[in-house]
């Protein structure tokens, strides 16, 4: 998969028409909505990476309790007088970390299961059933149960979210892989005497790679939402700031009913991230679909 992404990025516009990846990237770049969404996502990533440069880590307490937004505290302060701008900036770091790690894990499991299901038809019925069943269950109460039992920490949160997010990925990858496994080139690979792992890696994986690209963004944004939900219910890591924790503290202390800024800014951060992810996915799908392209 990584090699495909690299060629997409390195292809010059002149050569764009030569490869499908290049054409997709070209079409994506000419879509203002997609570019704006991508820029927003990169900006959020940058905020997460540069958190220590942007704000001091919010800790302790000061006497500036529940101050509305001002030039000194851009996003106001919370019930312990901590700067909400700092909380949201550091929250970006944790939320992004959880989103990226959980989605990478979920995608690894989902891609593996999805490909195995499509390739080895004998295990497909079983794997398909597991996926269908997990998709129809209320996941949040289950995540809460597991997170409560394992004890709240960043690692737990990431594991729990990825463990309950892979079925969605597996379903998408499986349906894409199913349309490929019976094509002549797969038979050819088998006739050549290719072993299963080699065929899966070199022939099936590249065919499903484009779908994976979209799912990375969407799964990550869902993971951020799930993390925020768990943190909001008090299941987050008590030692690190995430957007959900800012909301949780505001709800716990009751300041959500008196100080709008304690909930407004983390909410906007979540919304921006998820909207950016959704728009990137839409723009990428449009770019990949030759019928929508004007080139």
């Amino acid at each position: 998969m990584s090699s495909i992404v690299l060629t997409e990025l390195e292809t010059e516009p002149v050569a764009a028409q030569e490869s499908a990846g290049g054409a997709t990237w070209y079409a994506f770049r000419t879509n203002p909505m997609g570019v704006a969404a991508l820029a927003l996502m990169l900006a959020l990533l940058l905020v997460g990476l540069a958190a220590p440069l942007l704000a001091a880590y919010p800790s302790g307490f000061t006497s500036d309790v529940l101050q509305p937004p001002s030039t000194e505290h851009w996003f106001g302060t919370d019930n312990l007088g901590r700067d909400i701008f700092a909380e949201v900036v550091w929250g970006t770091r944790i939320s992004m970390t959880v989103g990226v790690c959980a989605s990478l894990l979920a995608i690894s499991i989902g891609v593996l299961i999805g490909m195995l299901g499509a390739y080895f038809r004998r295990v497909d019925t079983f794997l398909g059933m597991v996926v269908d069943l997990s998709l129809s269950l209320p996941v949040l109460p289950l995540m809460i149960l597991v997170a409560a039992l394992a004890g709240p920490s960043l690692g737990t949160i990431i594991m729990v979210i990825s463990f309950f997010s892979w079925p969605e990925v597996a379903r998408i990858v499986r349906s894409q892989a199913l349309s490929v496994v019976n094509l002549p080139y797969m038979d050819a690979a088998r006739v050549l005497g290719g072993r299963h792992p080699w065929i899966l890696r070199r022939h099936l994986l590249p065919a499903v790679a484009p779908v994976i690209t979209v799912t990375v963004v969407l799964t990550a944004s869902r993971a951020v939402i799930a993390e925020a939900g768990l943190s909001f219910l008090g299941m987050g890591d008590p030692n690190s700031w995430s957007w959900g924790r800012v909301l949780y503290e505001s709800q716990q202390s009751g300041s959500m009913t008196s100080a709008w800024w304690t909930t407004f800014f983390p909410s906007v951060a979540i919304l921006l991230l998820v909207v950016a992810a959704t728009l990137i996915a839409i723009a990428y799908n449009d770019a990949r679909n030759p019928r929508n392209r004007r080139d």
Binding site: S136, P138, A148, A150, G229
Partner: protein, 321 residues
């Protein structure tokens, strides 16, 4: 056997398997995770005999398969165990809460459909127009909303600032008779609205795209060609066929909506299963958490089953598939 009975039987079987899967997953997760329930119940510094006593009391000393069979047997009898913190059976604790959650998710589901269908139809029939663009933007943003954010926003603006609706609980203590129902409805508005706003986006977007596809199919083109009024083509020919995938999606969304209900109930102190989950998390009451998941899974499975059965009766394609 008539095909309908055969279809119903298969569907019920599927529901039972789903439920069994949910129960087995919780059982395995609870037993295989590193934290053990005994350490969770009491503080870590209790002595060994006390710990042993607790383990025996909750039947945790037996082998896994024995525990599993016992657990299944208890569940079949409706026994979800004892709550750690409330010295009451979990089923008693939860059953008094379940009607509220069902009322909340049920009304949110109905509202989603009632608002979603006209919006989706309007967008599909004016595809690529200004209205369609607006619906798409609302759809994408709606999909991206975080339930607590929406809930807190409504609580702050409609509840606190404008004082239109009460901001917490499900009813007032000293209201009786017909006024009580009105009071319940008034308390329901904000939590329900939060859930609807979050689930509306994907419903409208799906309905829009399936309806556009269905309106492009031959039978709709033919209906048009023979002079059927536009309204009838859209609402009768197109929409009826587009509703099947949309309803399936709604069933899948039900699990998501139940998760949303947990969050909304927490914000609005609504006395449903979700609020109980939130309170049990603080008290680390695992039997309640486990029971709540099993109960919510059961609700989702039954609701999905009923939708599918109803659809099977209406649409021969479903029951013969």
């Amino acid at each position: 056997m008539p095909p309908i009975a055969w279809f119903a039987l298969r569907r019920v079987g599927h529901g039972v398997v789903t439920l069994w899967f949910a129960i087995t997953i919780t059982f395995l997760l609870l037993r295989l995770l590193p934290g053990d329930p005994a350490t969770a119940i009491a503080s870590t510094n209790m002595d060994a005999t006390m710990r042993q006593e607790l383990l025996t009391k909750y039947g945790l000393t037996e082998s896994l398969p024995v525990q599993y069979v016992k657990y299944l047997g208890q569940l079949v009898q409706g026994d979800l165990g004892m709550s750690f913190s409330q010295s009451e059976p979990v089923s008693t604790v939860l059953m008094s809460r379940l009607p509220w959650t069902m009322l909340l998710t049920g009304s949110a589901l109905v509202m989603t459909v009632v608002i979603g269908i006209p919006l989706g139809v309007a967008a599909a029939t004016h595809a690529q127009g200004a209205l369609d663009r607006a619906v798409q933007v609302i759809g994408v943003v709606g999909q991206s909303l975080f339930v607590p954010s929406v809930g807190i926003f409504f609580l702050y603006v409609l509840g606190l600032k404008l004082q239109w609706f009460p901001i917490g609980g499900a009813y007032d203590e000293n209201v009786f008779g017909a006024a009580w129902y009105l009071d319940v409805a008034r308390h329901l508005v904000l939590p329900c609205l939060s859930l609807v706003l979050v689930s509306l986006g994907s419903y409208v977007l799906t309905l829009r795209s399936t309806l556009i596809d269905s309106l492009g199919e031959d039978f709709c083109v033919l209906a048009h060609a023979k002079g059927t009024p536009e309204r009838v083509v859209v609402w009768k020919h197109g929409l009826r066929n587009a509703l099947l995938p949309t309803t399936t999606l709604l069933g899948l969304q039900l699990g998501f909506m139940v998760g949303g209900a947990v969050l909304t109930e927490t914000i609005f102190a609504y006395p449903g299963v979700g609020r109980e989950i939130y309170e049990s998390v603080i008290r680390l009451d695992f039997p309640v958490l486990q029971g709540a998941f099993v109960l919510l899974a059961l609700t989702v499975v039954v609701a999905n089953m009923l939708t599918d059965l109803a659809y099977g009766l209406l649409d021969p394609r479903v029951r013969n598939a």
